[in-house]
């Protein structure tokens, strides 16, 4: 059994990693909660957003944090158009079809990236990337602390928008009762497209916050797909609080799993949680059940 101080450091590092997962999963859970679809292209879209951040920095010298509004707006537009032009139109309203279409899109995005950007990993070089904050025995990278706080903030903002704004009300109405929402005059297709856009905009934010400490390659999305799905399933599909708690639990599990079982076998924890939750409690920790 390792030293308690190391365990504590592992927990803190896990929480910070979990913050990233929260960012990625929030968009996924929003899309699921409203559209009842599983967006298999989520990881690939994150990868594209990360390349966006990378090229803004590389070509125009824009700092990833400064790029936040640009990338968020760009991701929203991309998601909105993608839903309007492709996903919504071609799915014929069947869940399985959307799963297959988003899988097809993921394959296309990954390989277009591979073709255009090659398989090399790219990193951003910013002065603050190496800044370390010491908490007890743990040395925590500043950018990860920032992304952790931003993740919590984003969850809060999204929760507020959903609870208070007119748009949030419409989104909830559509998520709850599609037909009824249509009858009271809500443009359901428009709400779908906007929700999908917001989900992808969250990925844009995640990409900006990730890039100072992470690398991007055409397969970067894969690392996040199963983790994001696990987060969402663990927290309960469609629940923001669930995504936040789920992401943090998974971050800590992964960190401690790696510490106790070794780097290779440690990854198994995430898949096992995923399977167990689906088998034993498919509504997740905070899910409403259907």
């Amino acid at each position: 059994m390792p030293d308690p101080a190391i365990i504590l450091a592992g927990v803190l590092n896990g929480l910070l990693a979990g913050g990233i997962y929260v960012l990625v999963a929030v968009g996924l859970t929003l899309i699921y909660g409203v559209l009842h679809i599983i967006n298999f292209a989520h990881g690939s879209l994150l990868m594209l957003a990360m390349y966006g951040v990378f090229f803004l920095w590389r070509l125009l010298g824009i700092d990833p944090y400064v790029a936040l509004p640009i990338v968020i707006a760009g991701s929203f537009a991309f998601g909105y158009v993608l839903y309007r032009g492709l996903i919504g139109r071609f799915s014929h309203g069947r869940d399985e079809n959307i799963l297959l279409i988003t899988l097809g899109l993921a394959i296309v995005f990954d390989n277009v990236a591979l073709l255009l950007f090659t398989g090399d990993t790219q990193t951003i070089d910013v002065t603050y990337a190496g800044t370390i904050v010491q908490v007890g025995a743990a040395f925590l990278p500043l950018p990860k602390i920032i992304s952790f706080l931003a993740a919590i903030l984003l969850c809060g903002v999204l929760g507020l928008v959903m609870a208070r704004s007119q748009l949030g009300k419409a989104i909830r109405a559509v998520a709850h009762e599609r037909q009824g929402a249509r009858l009271v005059g809500i443009d359901v297709e428009q709400v779908f497209a906007i929700s999908y856009g917001i989900g992808i905009a969250c990925l844009g934010a995640a990409a900006c916050l990730l890039m100072p400490t992470f690398y991007v390659s055409p397969t970067s999305g894969h690392a996040f797909v199963l983790i994001a799905f696990t987060t969402v399933v663990l927290g309960g599909m469609g629940s923001f609080v669930g995504a936040a708690v789920g992401g943090l639990i998974i971050g800590v599990t992964e960190s401690l799993g790696g510490l106790l079982l070794g780097e290779q076998l440690g990854q198994i924890g995430i898949s096992l949680i995923f399977i167990l939750i689906l088998l034993l409690r498919p509504t997740g920790l905070f899910g409403a059940g259907r």
């Binding site: 297959l100 899988l103 097809g104 390989n111 198994i268 689906l278």
Partner: protein, 336 residues
């Protein structure tokens, strides 16, 4: 199958049997082709059709759409490799055992997932997670030798399931492909197949009709798993090497799903048509790459085409390419 369909199938079979002899004769007559390369491509089509059919049996006929079918493929591959390399079994004996292992894994996953009532997208995701668990295990436990992988000793004798002449692997793959077609054909005319289609079209209605939904689904996943494992065993017997990515990589899952979806899920010939189409795309892009230097990075190109085809098929041609061959062959089961 209609009489005309049967005629086509018989004609195709005769052609497939004669194919290696024909390309060899054409090569000997001085035509500018590479007979062994063409035989290999034919082998690949048959093999891909076979693993595609493994997906199709569960995903197409019974509607159990899996995103992690490679879990069966990899089980068969590792079963075959471990039985030979570690325990010194003869491959002809190891092969059916490897297939049975895949059937067991299919039964286990089915028993767990269907008892928990997972359907549709949830089933797709849990199969993906199982494939990940198997990949990570293969990467970590000692008896698979982790990332190093397992080598099967090269000893080119038919008794060892290793052949000097590629023609034999071609015929073996053809045999697998035909066997899979026969299984799919049986599903269109047996009560078991009819029950599966009933479950696919409306599970609750099927249950109301008195069908034991759980048992039928577990059975078909075990059958599909055994086929996938037989395919995995065949695959590594050709290359005599297996590692966690070859055995449990996501790409193979996607390939198995794609060939059935593109060709026509739930049809007898869908996977074969899909395998033909995808192999053709693969080979054409490879050829383009060798001619046009700018395209030397080809692998992504063919995958881009695959992905786009999947989107288009779902959007515009839900019964796959098979439905282009006249309405007669279209989802026969549904109307049978």
């Amino acid at each position: 199958m209609s009489r005309r369909g049967l005629g086509f199938a018989m004609g195709g079979l005769v052609l497939a049997i004669l194919y290696p002899l024909l390309v060899r004769a054409a090569g000997a007559a001085g035509l500018p082709i590479a007979p062994n390369y063409l035989i290999n491509v034919g082998m690949l089509v048959c093999f891909t059709a076979f693993i595609g059919q493994s997906w199709n049996i569960a995903g197409g006929f019974a509607g159990l759409m899996s995103f992690g079918h490679v879990v069966f493929f990899g089980t068969g591959a590792y079963g075959m490799a471990i039985l030979q390399a570690t325990y010194g079994w003869n491959p002809w004996l190891a092969w059916p055992v490897a297939a049975a292992l895949g059937g067991g894994v299919g039964w286990l996953i089915g028993a767990l997932a269907f008892r928990a009532g997972l359907r549709g997208s949830y089933f797709a995701l849990i199969t993906l997670a199982f494939a990940e668990v198997f990949r990570i295990l293969a990467n970590s436990v000692p008896f698979t030798r982790g990332g190093l992988g397992l080598l099967i000793k090269a000893d080119t004798r038919p008794a060892n399931l290793q052949f000097r002449d590629p023609i034999w692997l071609y015929y073996l793959a053809l045999l697998l492909c035909v066997a899979a077609l026969l299984i799919a054909w049986q599903l269109t005319r047996t009560r078991f197949g009819a029950r599966l289609v009933a479950i696919r079209e409306n599970e609750d209605a099927a249950r109301a009709l008195g069908i034991d939904v759980y048992t039928e689904k577990v059975k078909v996943l075990a059958l599909s798993g055994a086929m996938g494992a037989a395919g995995g065993a065949f695959y590594i017997q050709k290359y005599l090497y297996v590692d966690p990515w070859i055995a449990f990589g996501v790409d193979k899952s996607v390939e198995m799903l794609l060939v059935s979806m593109v060709g026509g899920a739930g049809t007898i010939f869908g996977p074969l048509i899909g395998a033909g189409a995808l192999t053709a795309i693969n080979e054409v892009t490879r050829m383009l790459a060798s001619v046009v230097p700018a395209l030397k990075n080809v692998q992504p190109l063919s995958l881009i085409v695959y992905g786009a085809m999947l989107v288009l098929i779902v959007a515009r041609l839900p019964d796959g390419l098979a439905s282009l061959f006249g309405r007669r062959r279209r989802r026969e089961v549904e109307r049978a």
